[in-house]
């Protein structure tokens, strides 16, 4: 413990000896961690949104106008008994019209304008599993019944959105990794400068028989301090930015989507994980840049 405290003191003094370098390294780590936290918040929000939408996605089997009601009931019953089905509802033409009018109130009384209800009946199936095989089996069963005109699967466009989201997430992750890499290089450079600054001291200590831990520990702690400081400030900054964006967009057209995406924020265990990752990144940068040189 004494050695740790003495090494910590040496690390702090080294950082204070080169405040500009320490500031630069902390800033690089702060920016990297802040953006990483914001990407994670966006990712968490997007995932929640996707799960919510996809949980509500339904397979709609549109019935032929002449479909006999007993055949419809039979098919609905059969589908209820199929594996991977949560709910099956028979939507008659009147309910289909009511739902349409509720969804699009601006279009007025469609039935009155057209003189008749243009909607046919349908069977709405909500699958519990979103795998393609389950959905395809349900759709095939509907088509084979002879009373189904067409099939629509909500999840197709949600799936497309998810693919786009994954692609964007990939780009963001690569961007974040590049930023973290830059932060690592900066922290490493600062620690390396510290080592260069006391090369004479390290050489002397090695000649006196100082254990490697005595030489390396202050350098590793320096990296850990820079990582912790950068990660701490970065995470705090990300939170401030998130809250500010949410507050600033209240009452604007962006409010809804931003609340859905940024509202949940980064889950607390992830915040702890990011902080630890920042500290470990600092230690790694220090070890990579200074470890080998200190051994010479």
């Amino acid at each position: 413990m004494r050695i740790l405290l003495e090494s910590l003191r040496a690390a702090v003094l080294d950082l204070l000896r080169r405040p500009l370098g320490a500031l630069l390294a902390t800033a690089a780590m702060t920016v990297a961690m802040c953006l990483l936290a914001l990407f994670l918040a966006l990712g968490t929000g997007a995932r929640g949104l996707y799960e919510r939408w996809s949980g509500q996605a339904a397979l709609e089997l549109f019935l032929a106008r002449e479909a006999p009601s007993d055949a419809v009931e039979r098919l609905a019953e059969e589908l209820r008994g199929s594996p991977g089905v949560t709910r099956v509802e028979v939507i008659d033409p009147d309910r289909a019209l009511a739902e349409f009018e509720e969804a699009f109130p601006d279009l007025g009384d469609v039935a009155a304008v057209l003189g008749e209800n243009p909607f046919g009946g349908s069977i709405r199936v909500v699958p519990s599993r979103a795998d393609e095989a389950t959905v395809e089996a349900l759709a095939r069963r509907g088509r084979e019944s002879g009373i189904v005109d067409s099939v629509r699967w909500d999840r197709e466009w949600i799936g497309a959105l998810a693919r786009i989201g994954r692609l964007l997430g990939g780009f963001l992750a690569v961007g974040a990794l590049v930023l973290v890499g830059a932060a690592l290089v900066t922290v490493g450079a600062v620690v390396r400068l510290a080592l260069d600054d006391k090369r004479d001291e390290v050489a002397l200590l090695r000649l006196c028989g100082a254990p490697l831990s005595f030489v390396l520990l202050p350098l590793l702690l320096e990296g850990a301090l820079l990582g912790a400081l950068g990660a701490g400030i970065g995470l705090l900054l990300a939170r401030i930015v998130r809250v500010a964006v949410l507050e600033e967009t209240v009452g604007t057209p962006l409010e809804g989507i931003l609340h859905l995406l940024l509202g949940p924020g980064v889950p607390p265990p992830w915040i702890g994980g990011l902080f630890v990752a920042g500290v470990l990144a600092g230690i790694l940068a220090a070890a990579l840049s200074a470890g080998r040189a200190a051994l010479r």
Partner: protein, 217 residues
């Protein structure tokens, strides 16, 4: 304590800095390694500290053959040695007492014992009153006395001094020699590399004379 058995050291192929050197130093001896510049004195000391390894032959210190030592054991071996350099190698960002204490700190001495030992060695080299001074504020002779205090603080069995009077005038050189003799009188084995004829005459220790990397009678 130290055995050189047909030791050759080449930094470049075919150009030996030391060639077929054989000698031994008993525990408690005061031995001078003499010779002109470039004779191989520093290389000999660096072989003892295991900064370099022999190209041929064996170097044995305290019954341990250095060529076979792993990194951890090299450090353990170095803890039994004190080293004094021609250019003092004091660290300018630490005060005199911090310079001496640093080595003890590195070797894990507890703070209380460390303070006590630093005070004692600084008293011994006559610089207790300059404990708070910065090294660069001291004269060359004083800086070398601090370096000797630092080397002897961990109570080493072996003291290696590489041209410790190279940058000093004759009076200061005699002071340094006196300190080395006192350390020897307390039981420390001393290996002193020098080309200072006055120092060689005054020291009276056994002499290993090197010329062109070879020991000559």
């Amino acid at each position: 304590m130290i055995v050189f058995d047909h030791v050759t050291k080449c930094y470049r192929p075919g150009e030996p800095a030391l060639a077929d050197v054989t000698f031994h130093v008993e525990r408690g001896e005061f031995v001078l390694v003499t010779g002109p510049s470039g004779a191989g004195k520093t290389t000999l000391l660096r072989l003892v500290t295991r900064e370099v390894t022999a190209t041929e032959g064996r170097v044995v210190v305290d019954d341990v053959e250095l060529g076979r030592l792993g990194r951890g054991r090299v450090q353990a071996l170095r803890r039994t040695m004190g080293i004094v350099f021609q250019d003092f190698r004091l660290l300018p960002r630490y005060t005199v007492e911090e310079n001496v204490a640093l080595v003890l700190r590195a070797l894990g001495w507890p703070p209380g014992r460390r303070r006590e030992r630093v005070a004692r060695v600084l008293e011994w080299v006559g610089l207790a009153h300059k404990a708070e001074e910065w090294p660069l504020a001291l004269s060359g002779g004083e800086q070398q006395r601090v370096a000797i205090a630092r080397a002897l603080a961990p109570e080493p069995r072996l003291l290696l001094a590489d041209e410790p009077t190279g940058n000093l005038d004759p009076d200061r050189s005699r002071e340094i020699l006196d300190l080395l003799r006192q350390a020897h009188a307390r039981g420390t084995t001393v290996l002193l590399a020098t080309h200072d004829e006055a120092l060689i005459e005054a020291s009276g220790g056994r002499r290993l004379h090197l010329v062109g990397g070879r020991l000559v009678p």
